[in-house]
């Protein structure tokens, strides 16, 4: 292991990691928004829209992110929709993640028994109040494990961004392997940086899950 090399290229990885996290975080935020909208449409069974949502979810869940990105980045400009690599990364992640988030939220909402809502209504709450104070708080805590799993999944998926020439961690590693043949060092840094990004999220996820299990909702 050549430590000089590692120290020399550390800043480059740092920059790449920040890019990965930035685009990842932004993509996840949009995925959450898309997911919330889709879950709401499905929960209230809005006609027409729910069919569109169902089709979107199937398309998004049954195709790889890399193919989605290639289509958005290389295909869409041919019909006049040009976006830069950063935006494309965010859009791709939102397109992929939106369906996963929607499923997490929807299953959370579905676990709440209808009689909980009725009991809120019987206290004179409006539909909105029942949702806001009774159903959502429970649904949110139930979806947290699936939600955290999605966050980790989406952060991992950012690794394909190098294919649309975003200078992320994978891009940097591949570059250094190609130029300097410092394979071991490059891969070592790659693994370390991904651990730095993913481990805290993973640990947070299992902590939350344990707390929720302790809280033991229901019954």
């Amino acid at each position: 292991m050549n430590w000089d090399f590692i120290m020399r290229y550390l800043p480059m990885y740092q920059k790449a990691a920040i890019l990965t996290v930035k685009i990842g975080a932004l993509g996840i935020v949009f995925a959450i928004i898309v997911g919330l909208i889709c879950a709401t449409i499905q929960y209230y069974k809005v006609p027409v829209l729910r069919t569109i949502v169902a089709v979107y979810i199937e398309l998004s869940r049954n195709t790889p992110l890399l193919v989605q990105l290639f289509f958005i980045y290389y295909g869409l400009p041919k019909v006049g929709i040009s976006i830069d690599a950063n935006t494309c990364g965010v859009a791709g992640l939102a397109f992929l993640g939106g369906s996963y988030m929607a499923e997490a939220f929807r299953s959370g909402l579905e676990t709440i028994e209808p009689i909980q809502e009725e009991s809120a209504l019987s206290l004179g709450m409006s539909n909105y109040q029942a949702m806001r104070y009774v159903i959502l708080p429970q649904a949110v805590s139930i979806s947290i494990p699936a939600f955290m799993a999605n966050v980790i999944f989406l952060l991992k998926e950012t690794s394909v961004f190098s294919a649309i020439s975003l200078m992320d961690l994978m891009f940097t590693a591949k570059d250094l392997i190609g130029v300097y043949y410092k394979t071991t060092e490059s891969l070592f840094l790659l693994v370390v940086f991904y651990l730095i990004i993913l481990l805290p999220v993973s640990i947070l996820g299992s902590l939350l899950e344990r707390r929720l299990r302790y809280a033991g909702f229901g019954a």
Partner: protein, 254 residues
């Protein structure tokens, strides 16, 4: 004469072709305690759910203080505040403490000041013997305790009428009493109550009137003494007989 609080006229309720309630007529006066009994599937619970507009009805009308109750009513939330409902499965909100369960609706729906609601909630908890559980979460309570909290939650909205839907059916036998005692107390205070139950002894003790519901119809409507001792219809006799047992101890037989 006491005023008529709740009037049900020619109520018909069906799920598709399946008629649950057919031409039900019932008047509840202020301060009256009515116990509704009948075999399972006779529509007792559906009747209560209709009164709280949790189910749409097909024909007839339900009036509370002369105002029509139905899922489409504009002031439905106001009407529902006048009706307290307690469910068989308690339906406390698991993510809120006992106190927050009770205070949620008075604060958010009725916009009453927090201090006042809290004081009342604690006083009511004290009355049902659960003052020390105010900070607990529903999962830490026994079934009987949960049901008493659910009753307090309904009371704290100052309802004009209380609906009880088989509130002791899910409880262990030794916890039934503590919940029934709370209800007896409410009856003694002159609350208007509509109670669906299978506890016959309790029904005898608490009811001003007993309604026997069978196949979606009110078959008998009588004072408890009369109903339990001299049921008029054979269906009611049959039903009451299910609660009696004949001796089957071979070694005592002659």
């Amino acid at each position: 004469m006491e005023k008529e609080l709740l009037t049900i006229e020619h109520l018909k309720k069906s799920f598709g072709d399946n008629v649950i309630l057919d031409d039900v007529n019932l008047t509840v006066k202020q301060g009256e305690v009515i116990v509704i009994i009948g075999p399972s599937g006779c529509g007792k619970s559906t009747l209560l759910r209709c009164i709280n507009a949790l189910e749409p009805i097909q024909e007839g009308q339900i009036l509370l203080d002369g105002e029509k109750i139905e899922p489409k009513s504009k002031n439905l939330t106001q009407l529902r505040q006048k009706i307290g409902m307690v469910f068989q499965s308690y339906e406390l909100f698991p993510h809120l403490s006992v106190l927050d369960n009770i205070m949620l609706a008075p604060i958010k729906v009725q916009k009453r000041p927090k201090d006042e609601v809290k004081e009342e909630a604690l006083a009511l908890l004290e009355r049902v013997g659960l003052a020390e559980k105010a900070k607990s979460y529903p999962r830490e309570l026994s079934g009987g305790q949960k049901q008493r909290v659910a009753i307090v939650r309904a009371l704290c909205m100052h309802p004009e009428i209380l609906l009880f839907d088989e509130v002791t059916a899910a409880l262990d036998p030794e916890m039934v009493r503590e919940v029934l005692d709370v209800m007896l107390n409410l009856a003694a205070q002159g609350r208007t109550m509509l109670i669906v139950t299978h506890e016959m002894q309790f029904a005898k003790a608490v009811a001003d009137r007993v309604i026997f519901l069978d196949n979606g119809n009110i078959v008998e409507d009588a004072a408890p003494d009369e109903f339990f001792n001299h049921p008029k219809t054979s269906r009611a006799k049959q039903f009451l007989n299910m609660f009696a047992f004949d001796d089957v101890k071979p070694h005592e037989k002659v």
